[in-house]
């Protein structure tokens, strides 16, 4: 008789820890064929708030880390992911070849973004030749806490929205794909073992319709990535709520081709520009 497997409990990832939803709720996740896979935590608005608190707390340290350090950590995430290649492929399901390709693309995407940490300021900052005796330099800085509604694509799509937000120094709260949330929690296990400080990435699983408006309306969130929102009414509600404290919004693009080479937009949308002036003189 074969051994009975020890299953994993899928919980949330907040502030570097793996709590259950404070609401005590869960929902069944099934395969495309309808087979039961696991019960995922169904996060509540209180979990959203806890996650924002964790992200805000992590912001000074993460944004204050050197770009080199952030790049090293993102590269470390790629290494850890590579080591769990088979696990992720199995969790993604579907054809084995396609699943492995998806994991590989995810690792490669991370490596690509890792390298941007200490280069984005060189291509998105400017030395300004002002008409006067002044030193004048513009540099990009992270916006702050970014709320992310992740796309359906459970791994490449997920990492393609997380990596650009955090590589520049933002911290984030991610609402994972509702239908395929399991890889997001396994990714959280990778993040938790990659020297990424707790709270830089917080992952919530649950119902997008229920959670996204709270994240969009939260007054301590500075940016909102609506990439994974496919419902036009929900997108409108969220964008309107985001106006209250002038969040920087990345609008929905649920059908994005996640294998295509990314533009810089996912990074630059959540960057501020700071221009510093100083007179020259003796």
């Amino acid at each position: 008789m074969s051994r009975l497997a020890v299953r994993k409990t899928y919980k949330l990832y907040i502030g570097g820890a793996f709590p259950r939803s404070e609401s005590g709720r869960s929902y069944a996740v099934t395969s495309p064929k309808g087979d039961f896979l696991a019960n995922a935590s169904r996060a509540s608005r209180k979990d959203v708030r806890d996650a924002v608190v964790a992200a805000r707390k992590a912001f000074p340290g993460w944004s204050g880390a050197t770009a080199y350090n952030r790049g090293q950590i993102l590269y470390r995430i790629a290494e850890m992911l590579e080591g769990r290649r088979a696990q992720f492929a199995e969790e993604l399901g579907g054809g084995k070849k396609a699943a492995l390709e998806a994991v590989d693309a995810t690792v490669d995407r991370l490596v690509w973004y890792a390298g941007w940490s200490d280069k984005i300021a060189s291509v998105h900052g400017t030395a300004n030749p002002v008409a006067g005796p002044y030193f004048n330099l513009s540099s990009p800085e992270p916006t702050g806490v970014v709320g992310v509604v992740a796309p359906e694509d459970p791994l490449v799509g997920l990492i393609s929205v997380i990596a650009p937000a955090i590589v520049t120094g933002n911290t984030c709260v991610v609402i994972a794909s509702e239908r395929t949330p399991l890889p997001s929690i396994t990714l959280a296990e990778v993040l938790a073992t990659s020297d990424l400080p707790g709270g830089v990435v917080n992952v919530l699983t649950g119902h997008q319709q229920e959670l996204a408006p709270w994240l969009a309306a939260h007054m301590d969130v500075n940016g909102l990535d609506l990439t994974g929102v496919s419902d036009a009414d929900l997108a409108l509600t969220c964008e309107q709520a985001a106006a209250e404290n002038l969040k920087r919004v990345l609008r929905p693009s649920p059908d994005e081709d996640w294998r295509a080479a990314p533009a810089l937009t996912r990074m630059t949308r959540f960057l501020e520009t700071k221009t510093v002036w100083h007179p020259m003189g003796v």
Partner: protein, 476 residues
């Protein structure tokens, strides 16, 4: 202290040829508006300057249609040709600078010294700067062939009427967009003179359209379904409404909103220079500046010394006729704004802060408010939290650099900040920690077309000026 008597030195207003009434500028021609006209007054005297047309939603629609039609021609035109139009406009602005400066001071109330020496040179420079970008966009880092967005709807404030027009129109046109611009209700005249300059420059009809009116006209511009891009400078309150309106439409949006900047003076600062910087920071343009240094954070040990110097300097400021070349402080732009400044200042007293103004005669007619300093201000006071948008300074103190950063950042705004210290490493440390889009160290209120300007947090998003200013008008 010796006081100097100055004879009046008024700039002649004869150079301005005021018409009794002005129309809208649509498709290269002046046209009547369908709304009931409004009058624009000289805030220094309350005399009527002219009647100005009000654009209804239909008029705005005609302007957008004209801009849409012109977009085909304008966006297809080689960048080098667009550049030459913008250079031409820059040159005509320089040629007519005196006239524009006098008109600006008449309509806005700002001292002629400022409109002549700050606003107008910056306006011309802004067109000159972006003209040069028009045929170099492929080098700006936004891709090999960055495309314009289409029709830009732009709404601008009354504090720097022509300069804000330049900040909006120059990059929009350089990138190949066409525009419908609504100037502020109280300061429409220089925008309408700019329309005439577009005619003189032979700018193709419809590339620039100017629609005048109040908030309703602006709302119609923002909400028009055929506008691809909305750019707004003004209050955070209106910015929120615009962001809500634009939600779900796919229109690109940039907002330059309010501020409550901290001007931070350390004990090792060059005090005389710091005093000048603090004065320039909050009393420039009567404090009608979104990036004004309205909160003075002074290190506790030098508070008395700095305040003594500041009060002495404020006693020498000359308030009065905006057209007098010796005037430092002009008129408050409108009765409405004056009421707001008065009400917030009264609140400051009620909340327990100590109010001080130099001896200062205010003219009988017009809208005036003396330079005002509040000491003993707490962070919770409304005068320390809300944008007064007037010549009112709130003084707070700090002991350590970390406390200065904490207090400076304790605001929903994040437009600008000032640092005064002789210690270079402290400047850089502070500049790094301050959450503000522009940080002036040992200077304040400097502007340049090559330097990006714009805010963090509730001061809005997007940048104006510099290479990054192009992003707002390109499909990227």
């Amino acid at each position: 202290m010796a006081s100097f008597a100055y004879a009046p030195a008024p700039e002649s207003r004869d150079i301005v040829d005021l018409k009794p009434s002005y129309g809208l500028f649509i498709n290269g021609e002046f046209a009547d508006g369908s709304g009931s006209p409004f009058k624009t007054i000289n805030p220094a005297t309350e005399e009527k300057l002219a009647e100005v047309a009000t654009a209804s939603a239909d008029d705005v629609d005609r302007a957008v249609q004209a801009a849409r039609k012109a977009f085909g021609v304008w966006s297809a035109m080689p960048g080098a040709e667009r550049a030459k139009y913008l250079f031409r406009i820059a040159r005509i602005i320089q040629e007519r600078a005196r006239e524009l400066a006098v008109l600006e001071s008449l309509d806005n109330g700002k001292p002629i010294r400022e409109s002549r020496d700050v606003d107008l040179p910056l306006v011309a420079a802004h067109f000159f700067y972006y003209a040069g970008w028009a045929d170099k966009l492929e080098y700006a880092g936004f891709g090999a062939d960055p495309r314009p967005l289409g029709v830009a709807g732009q709404v601008i404030p009354w504090n720097f009427p022509l300069l804000m027009l330049a900040w909006k129109i120059a990059p929009a046109l350089a990138c190949g967009n066409t525009v419908v611009l609504k100037p502020a209700e109280t300061t429409p005249l220089t925008a309408l003179l700019f329309a005439e300059i577009c005619q003189q420059a032979d700018l193709p009809p419809g590339v620039v359209n100017i629609v005048t009116g109040a908030g309703e006209t602006g709302a119609a511009v923002v909400a028009h379904p055929d506008v691809n891009k909305v750019a707004f400078t003004g209050s955070t309150e209106v910015g929120r409404i615009i962001a809500r309106t634009v939600a779900g439409t796919g229109k690109k949006l940039t907002l330059e909103l309010g501020g409550k900047a901290a001007n931070i003076v350390f004990d090792d600062a060059a005090l005389d220079q710091a005093v000048e910087g603090v004065v320039n920071g909050i009393f420039f343009n009567q404090g009608h500046v979104c990036c004004a240094g309205s909160r003075l954070l002074v290190q506790e040990s030098i508070q008395d010394e700095l305040l003594t110097g500041l009060k002495r300097r404020l006693g020498t400021l000359r308030l009065g006729d905006p057209l007098d070349k010796n005037t430092d402080i002009g008129a408050i732009n409108s009765a409405e704004q004056l009421a707001k400044i008065r009400s917030l200042s009264d609140l400051g007293e009620q909340e327990g802060a100590e109010r001080w103004s130099p001896a200062c005669d205010l003219p009988d007619k017009g809208f005036w408010f003396p330079p005002t300093v509040f000491t003993g201000v707490a962070q919770s006071h409304r005068i320390a939290r809300e944008e007064v948008f007037g010549p009112v300074l709130s003084v707070l103190t700090f002991r350590t650099p970390a406390e200065a950063v904490e207090k400076a950042n304790n605001t929903p705004y994040g437009l600008s900040a000032g640092i005064w210290t002789e210690k270079g490493s402290r400047i850089l440390w502070m500049a790094d920690k301050l959450r503000a889009g522009v940080v002036w160290a040992n200077t304040f209120n400097r502007f340049d077309p090559a330097a990006p300007f714009g805010g963090y947090k509730e001061s809005g998003y997007g940048r104006e000026g510099g290479l990054l200013g192009l992003e707002a008008y390109l499909d990227v």
